[in-house]
């Protein structure tokens, strides 16, 4: 068995960063620039999957957000940026180093305004593990239905009487006549690190943490 190419690069001096594509990326790359890391703006919309940033001694791996903790757990990325919602759902063995304070939203239980307890409650969600744990801890018996998108549809068409989903502004909910009933927890993006990289590349990771920490406190 030989070590594959990707793994060996992860152990050179370059820091491999798993970056979530989409919503969080713009805010995260802005934060990196505020922290003085020369991340050029122009690949914000790039379709490339691996982007070298030699000026910052980094390599960005553009990943689907839910996959970021997996890349980091296996060490193909040294560090990563990911929402707390994904961390709670995926439950991976990684270091959670820093709250970046970006992409703020909350995980909530949502339903129709006239919701009343039903005999067989059903909850639709993209976060089945988070949702079932929450209702278990509340002592409620619910059937959790995993959906992959358009969660708001479920109560409107009668698939579920409530949903568990992320709420940022509440705009989508209002437009669909839904209301937020309870908040499970607040969500922001986090900086995570692989267990081994955290030790073997500690100087680089700690320096990045410190610079990001300063940038975050200056924003507030």
């Amino acid at each position: 068995m030989t070590v594959n190419g990707g793994m060996s690069v992860a152990n050179s001096g370059i820091l491999k960063v798993a970056m979530p594509k989409g919503r969080i990326y713009k805010q995260a790359s802005k934060l990196f620039r505020q922290a003085g890391l020369p991340i050029p703006e122009d690949f914000d919309d790039s379709r490339r999957l691996i982007i070298q940033v030699p000026e910052a001694n980094m390599e960005f791996i553009m990943a689907k957000p839910v996959d970021v903790p997996t890349y980091v757990e296996y060490g193909v990325a040294d560090i990563g940026i990911v929402g707390k919602d994904v961390l709670m759902e995926e439950n991976k063995d990684v270091y959670e180093l820093l709250d970046l304070g970006i992409a703020k939203c909350r995980m909530s239980v949502i339903g129709m305004p006239d919701w009343k307890p039903v005999i067989h409650p059903r909850v639709a969600t993209k976060y089945p593990s988070v949702a079932s744990q929450y209702f278990r801890e509340q002592g409620q018996q619910v059937e959790v239905i995993k959906l992959n998108g358009s969660i708001e549809l479920a109560p409107l068409i009668g698939l579920a009487d409530r949903i568990v989903d992320m709420v940022e502004t509440g705009q989508t909910l209002r437009e669909n006549g839904l209301v937020e009933m309870e908040t499970l927890f607040q969500v922001t993006s986090r900086l995570i690190a692989n267990r081994v990289s955290y030790r073997l590349k500690n100087t680089a990771i700690q320096e990045l943490c410190d610079r990001l920490g300063v940038a975050i406190s200056e924003r507030v």
Binding site: M1, T2, V3, M7, S8, A10, N11, T70, E73, Y74, G75, V76, N91, K92, D93, V94, Y95, E96, L97, L98, D99, R190, N194, R195, V196, S197, R199, L200, N202, Q206
Partner: protein, 407 residues
């Protein structure tokens, strides 16, 4: 459940083909030999143990144990580590052997629902236990032996991180006297490597600013011996001070071994608090996202087997080491003897002589002169290896009427 296909096997278990086994055996041999040279004798214990004894005493959480019932309905576990079974042996079969006792092992262990990546349900561990010695020398010895074992296995570059559960216990008792649940919450955060959660808990404690800063700063306590000096300033608590002094002494011994370059101190590196009682450590190899070894001091385990004693040890994750160790080309020489039927006796006796001399020999009867592979082998130019029926050989010996010259 649907009936599995004939080639399927349960999730998390693996077959190892000859190439991988050869490599595994090389690692196993060199590591066990290294341990023997350090005065550790190998022990073997059964794969199955009682749940109520070894199962309960092991560091593995209940839901990760493989449990089965024997014919009398008693719960049996497949061993989840080798430490608890060895503690049982030290407390029973070896109860009259004076301390310190040094034992090594190599064996398969089982974990159900392993949450770490890889999720292997059965894997190999190679390790040692040093029972009946509480000194810093003993802790340093197992770390030094862990380093020697990683080198013997051929792991190209690695680092050991060392911590001590006593420091955080002491620091938390000092800063949060009597607030057990908050202490537990902080420890739980560190154990889950959740530094964000740790800082959140601290902020909610309404401590004075100096204490709050101090608790946050321990997340940065990493490095060489200077960390000990910084930590001594941090806490006046007796057990925290004792922990740091112990670590300092371990460091001094490691320096005397001349191996401190491989070790860094990290006071947030804590093992399971309910199991480890003192120094703990973990080893990391470049090219691998998961730790390659872990160990530490567990002074409470032996008492559960009727012979209270301090103990320390470590386990190499041998199955994972297999991934980072380079393949060695040394596959050993292999000879092919092809004989004609009437020369069977001579051929088999020749093969026997060669085997006594340590040569790996396959003797086959020549069935047909038209065997194309044999014709190719006969044309082999005696440099490098040739293939015959899918196996590689370094030497060809023909025994028969026509080929006396060749043999």
């Amino acid at each position: 459940m649907t009936k599995p296909k004939v080639f399927e096997k349960p999730t998390g278990v693996k077959d190892y083909l000859p190439h991988a086994v050869a490599k595994m055996r090389r690692i196993e041999r060199s590591v066990l030999e290294c341990m023997r040279l350090w005065g550790y004798d190998q022990i073997m214990t059964p794969t199955m143990e009682y749940y109520d004894t070894v199962g309960v005493a092991s560091a593995t959480s209940d839901q990760k144990l493989f449990k089965l019932l024997n014919q009398r309905g008693t719960t049996i576990v497949l061993r989840s580590d080798m430490t608890a079974p060895i503690a049982r042996v030290v407390g029973s079969l070896l109860k009259d052997k004076p301390f310190p006792i040094r034992l090594s092992y190599h064996g398969n262990v089982f974990r159900a629902f392993e949450e770490e990546g890889g999720r292997e349900a059965e894997f190999l561990q190679t390790g040692v236990e040093l029972v009946g010695d509480s000194s810093p020398e003993a802790d340093a010895e197992v770390i030094a032996l862990a380093i020697a074992s990683l080198q013997a296995a051929g792991v190209p570059s690695f680092k050991i991180a060392m911590g001590h559960v006593g420091f955080l216990n002491g620091l938390f008792q000092e800063t949060l006297p009597g607030r057990e649940s908050e202490q537990e919450a902080l420890k739980a955060c560190l154990l889950q490597r959740d530094h964000v959660g740790y800082r959140d808990v601290i902020r909610k404690l309404s401590l004075d600013a100096a204490w709050q800063r101090e608790l946050e700063d321990i997340l940065r306590l990493r490095g060489g011996q200077e960390v000990c000096a910084q930590a001594l300033e941090l806490s006046a608590n007796e057990s925290a001070q004792a922990a740091i002094k112990h670590l300092c002494e371990v460091w001094d011994v490691l320096e005397a071994y001349g191996i401190q370059e491989h070790v860094l101190i990290d006071l947030t590196m804590i093992g399971d608090f309910s199991y480890y009682t003192g120094m703990t450590f973990e080893g990391y190899a470049s090219h691998l996202g998961f730790p390659v070894c872990s160990g530490g001091r567990y002074d409470n385990l032996l008492a559960q087997f009727g012979r209270p004693a301090q103990a320390t040890g470590f386990a190499l994750k041998t199955t994972r080491i297999l991934e980072v160790v380079e393949d060695t080309a040394d596959e050993g020489e292999r000879t092919l003897i092809v004989y004609e039927q009437e020369f069977r006796r001579e051929a088999l006796q020749d093969a026997a002589r060669r085997r006594v001399a340590g040569e790996s020999v396959l003797a086959v009867l020549e069935t047909s002169e038209e065997d194309s592979e044999l014709i190719a082998a006969k044309a082999w130019n005696r440099s490098g290896a040739f293939l015959y029926h899918g196996t590689s050989y370094n030497q060809l010996v023909l025994i028969g009427k026509k080929s006396e010259g060749l043999a």
